[in-house]
Symmetry: C2
Subunit: 412 residues, 2 copies
């Protein structure tokens, strides 16, 4: 039997009625002849409740205990989903992470899946079971303790199962009906994409389009897992949602696939840094050790052996970054004048694999922003994306103007 | 280090504040030099929520999935308790049933503990861990699936750990401050007992005194585990609560230790049953197969080769009993006239190991009830208890009158 992986997020399993609705979707695929592996999240709100208890109990918690507590939400949904399927006369059973076992590293709360043995579940499929319901987001460490994969980790669980079981496709059911050219909430012309390439999805995911967890897309790209993102609240259809796939499966596409944005960016500038070899390494090693995720970096041209160094990071990491740099300065390891933080910025990016073969996208982007009198503070580029940091108040205007300019409302 | 087992019920761990209060109790015992095994229930209300979801999903549920779902409440408390202890600088970690592992039979939802290997936890104690927090109520079957021990099973978990680890004592923290001569809510003269013998506690537990699960008392008696029942809401003291222990530890005691009652009893009478050898076996085998817990049984003297057979069972099992007997009749396996169910009855019992060596307790009990004009419908006795079935409306009166007559308000 061909195998299909179906993942249901928290809003899709928020209560027994929603679980029933999700189970009906599973039933349709079983009727088509698939053996199905269902990956479930915790019921919406449950993980937040558990996290709040942990934080109330122990602000600097032992991550091993955090994982033991927060993983329980998925176990509840897995059992309820198996029961719901059984009620529909579909042979099903639930698996918790340690039962499969989903073997992970021991990096608690941010563990990586290392191996998913398929024998237990395949044996049950061979015996006539039609659906294996697996608690997402969790695994077991080499020490036999429960691990979790980080928030949104159920997407990663789903893709990892699809890869391990060589599934025909991995369907991610969520509360949006697919991947859009940009966020429909801030641009009404946003258009749902039928297909998007892994690389594009990866850039969009990491740039703030919250449809899929970045790691799950990385994993899908590496193992060529065809991912479909679709809503569990729409009528079932074979063309629903967006297929995230290898670019070879996409015949023609726009040069720019989408416009992404991220509100939670901050710009930090170190003024008057001594411009000597290794200074960037010193700065960014210390930020990395302080768990600051530095995104964009710009170094100005040096004057009088002094330079300014600008970088961006998520706004909630600004305090950590400031503390780490101040400590470096106090210890005499880093010499700079002042540290200026600007937390009123946003990042806007255009993404598309067509940019590899088409020139002029950057020029057009800068012209569009300039025509709207939007000042660009920092620029970074990759092979398939261009990102700019701008004042946050212009973010929506920038997204709309770029969407119009690249005519993203039209299919290619 | 001597080992102490401490068990906290649902109300004692109902929220992070209560867990903190419970953890302080644990800290006091650690300070005395104990290595402590803490057994926790789910936060009050959580198991009911999970059970309700299961029932809503699948009225005739697969018990294996039921167990996977409902066991999650204890896992949450175990992690939170370990985190709370760590916050108090007490080295602690949590164990879920499968991690110990608590090996049980595969009788899901009513599993029995078969073995608790001590090596994992003892190794951690040897390494300096002071408290092992274990999720109660759960274990793992030979098939590697999660099992539960039935409602109230955390008491049994606690006693089983105390036996396996040869603990000095097993303290059961609950929302009452000990075992009383009767229920203080219906008899204001009820007195807390300092000590009670296992056998007496067993009769009281099975007769409806809901302080301890019956199985946990049986287990404690078999392995001579000294059990202390006490409140987590009272100030700590060495004499708090009630010690359930071997009768040899009790110097002098009243002939009658306590008066118990059970409201949820029903009386069923089969009229005009053919009085032939094996008829009782036929009836009670079929009831047992229908999972009806028959308690008291009375057979009238036969007339014309016909007799009446009366028995009692919990009220919520009456429908099941009626169905089983009707089926037997329809299949021609049992011949009787009518089945009369009386669900307006209650059971009242006096219990005391002193009854072994003192006569006249039964006579006195019947006289007291007669003086109050309470009609006795069924009587059963054991070596250390006498139970009567009476109209439910007289239950409180009977309990109060018996408590007075046996002077239970006075310590021996």
């Amino acid at each position: 039997m061909p195998i299909l992986v179906m993942k249901f997020g928290g809003t899709s399993v928020a209560n027994p009625d929603r679980i029933k609705r999700a189970a009906k979707r599973v039933g349709l695929e079983v009727a088509k002849g698939y053996d199905v592996i269902v990956i479930v999240s915790a019921m919406a709100g449950k993980t937040n409740e558990l996290v709040a208890w942990v934080n109330e109990t122990s602000p600097l918690f032992d991550a091993r205990e955090y994982d033991a507590v927060v993983s329980s939400g998925e176990n509840v949904t897995a059992g309820l989903m198996a029961l719901t399927l059984q009620e529909m006369d579909i042979p099903a059973r639930s698996w918790q992470g340690w039962q499969v076992p989903v073997k992970t590293t021991s990096a608690h709360s941010a563990a990586r899946i290392e191996e998913i043995p398929t024998d237990n579940i395949m044996k049950k499929f061979a015996e006539g079971m039609k659906v294996a319901v697996v608690a997402g987001f969790q695994g077991v460490s080499p020490q036999g303790r429960i691990t979790t994969l980080g928030r949104g980790g159920s997407d990663t669980t789903a893709v990892a199962f699809a890869a391990a079981f060589n599934a025909e496709r991995c369907d991610i059911y969520t509360d949006v009906d697919g991947v859009y050219t940009t966020d429909p909430r801030i641009c009404e012309k946003a258009r749902k994409l039928d297909r998007i390439a892994f690389e594009e999805m990866l850039e969009l995911a990491s740039l703030g389009a919250k449809v899929l967890q970045t790691r799950s897309v990385e994993l899908a790209m590496r193992y060529k897992v065809r991912l479909r993102v679709l809503s569990s609240f729409e009528e079932p259809s074979d063309t629903a949602g967006t297929l995230v796939c290898d670019e070879e499966e996409i015949m023609e596409s726009n040069v720019v696939a989408g416009v992404a944005y991220s509100r939670d960016e901050a710009k930090l500038t170190l003024l008057s840094v001594a411009d000597r070899p290794g200074i960037a390494a010193t700065i960014f090693t210390s930020l990395s050790e302080a768990n600051v995720n530095v995104d964009m970096i710009v170094q100005n041209i040096a004057e009088n052996e002094r330079t300014d160094m600008t970088f961006s990071c998520p706004t909630d990491q600004v305090k950590r970054a400031e503390a780490a740099l101040a400590e470096m300065k106090a210890e005499g390891k880093l010499n700079f004048g002042e540290l200026v933080a600007d937390t009123n910025v946003a990042k806007v990016s255009v993404v598309g694999i067509g940019m590899r073969s088409h020139t002029g996208v950057a020029a057009k982007m800068f012209k569009v922003l300039s025509d709207e009198n939007i000042n660009i503070k920092v620029i970074t580029t990759s092979e398939i994306k261009i990102s700019v940091l701008i004042d946050r108040k212009y973010m929506e205007l920038a997204v709309q103007a770029l969407h119009d300019a690249f005519e993203l409302e039209k299919a290619s």
